[in-house]
Symmetry: C2
Subunit: 289 residues, 2 copies
């Protein structure tokens, strides 16, 4: 049992939570909470698991944990089997508290491996919108979300969650967008970060150009542009959502195939970026779900 906050593994987890640079270097990030950790294990993304002493006691107790509603909807015996099979480090409650973001820690944390994908991987890979077998074989329908300079970690996580729900195939982000492996973002994706293909690219205009090359129609969004009610979305489409305060850059708007806007009551100036992304994604894709 790890009982000191000076333990090198503990110090490293704290570093990985705080620093995007460190995550990039070590190609690992931190996942917290039973639901997320079990999902990471299921998808073979969890590389190391840490469990608090009180959660171990609870799992041992079985019923107590059930009453506490800690693992609602999950099979306790199965959880225990999974942990035994994967192996884990036990951590004293005092030390675990230092690791956790939440006021009442749920007692389980994992280190997950970062998948290194680039824009082309998202567009052309087995997960992607275009499969290249023999010659060119296109999916009849594709939906890609492109993010430019999204700054709020919670917004980014919510956008991932919504994109998966709306049946999107992947997310492309410019490097000005906040790190998706930020613990707050990981949490608010509700697991979509594990399942949805995504990549960071250097330049937003290059990302848009790469999409257009595959035959995807790219729609910019903002306060100007065509009303979404008058837009006939192409079966293979990408939508760009811009920064929370400033929207999309002029440069990016200029290279999109078409620019669209969500109509608003004149009293309103704008929508929250996560909500705007949700409205656009569902408006364009409801008929394909």
């Amino acid at each position: 049992m790890i009982e000191s906050t000076n333990n090198s593994q503990i110090k490293n987890i704290i570093r990985l939570k705080k620093s995007g640079k460190e995550r990039k270097k070590q190609k690992q990030y931190v996942v917290e909470g039973p639901k997320m950790v079990l999902e990471a294990i299921k998808l073979e993304l969890a590389e190391k698991i840490y469990v608090s002493e009180s959660l171990l006691k609870d799992i041992d107790g079985g019923m107590k944990a059930l009453q506490n509603n800690r693992f609602a909807g999950l099979n306790y015996a199965a959880v225990f089997d999974i942990l035994e099979e994967c192996g884990y480090e036990s951590v004293s409650d005092r030390v675990f508290k230092e690791l956790s973001d939440t006021v009442s820690p749920q007692g389980i944390i994992a280190l997950a491996g970062i998948k290194d994908m680039d824009t082309k991987d998202v567009l052309y890979s087995q997960y992607g919108v275009r499969h290249f077998c023999d010659d060119v074989c296109c999916m009849p329908i594709a939906r890609i979300l492109i993010l430019e300079d999204i700054q709020d970690p919670g917004n980014l996580g919510t956008v991932f969650r919504t994109a998966e729900a709306a049946g999107f195939n992947g997310i492309l982000m410019n490097k000005g967008t906040v790190d998706v492996y930020n613990p707050k973002t990981v949490r608010s994706t509700m697991g979509a970060v594990f399942r949805l293909p995504f990549a960071y690219g250097d330049d937003i205009c290059d990302i848009i150009a790469e999409c257009k090359k595959t035959g995807i129609t790219v729609y910019g969004t903002g306060l100007l542009g065509k009303d979404i009610r008058d837009t006939e979305y192409k079966p293979c489409s990408a939508f760009v959502i811009g920064n929370e305060s400033n929207g999309m850059s002029e440069a990016a708007l200029n290279v999109c195939d078409e620019n669209i806007k969500i109509p608003m009551n004149p009293a309103s100036e704008s929508l929250n970026a996560g909500v705007a992304a949700g409205i656009i994604m569902y408006h364009s894709s409801l008929k394909f779900l």
Copy 2:
């Protein structure tokens, strides 16, 4: 100039920011930042204004503030005139820092008055969806949002912002929903809190019943129910959004006219409440905007 954090006005502002009870008792809440404060002044809701010494210097300097982009889009001379006309207290920067939620305070805070409205006021008042003149005169179209036990202050603010943008007439909340006068919520409404009629009611089922009495069709939302793609919304409709973790209560679902759901990719379990509200509001109301 107020130079001590022991000043009774300063102490009171801090109390009003922290405590919902105190806000209810004093019928005042705190508004922060130039955009929100000027909007509150315009709508005659600001009852007292506090300005930091450095913002006063900036306004005096004019160009300096402009360069700092502090009052982007606003006329400086006009801002100064407004403040002179309304009267304000100047506050030392050190003390102002204690008042502000943000790391770099924007130097202006106001106390705004709480409007006391109840469910009937929202439904029948001059702002409401039904005007009673002579006999019964109905608006041809009405859109009401009903919230049950929304817990996240940011979510609530975002929902207000979206409801206004989507042309909704008002918001009704049960008392289990977080206080809209919470500083974080006020900020994330982007001013909609000043302009959109809203009220808290004791019981969610009573709120729904009151809506139905006026002839409004009430739609519950959740993971079950009719697909929104198959829903023919009535011109006068209300939509209930439930708690972030648990959704709507059984009791509330049972008294709605109809229950609807947003279709999702099977990998997803749910949507963020603010995003779900945005999708439902726009899906039901795009044609009326």
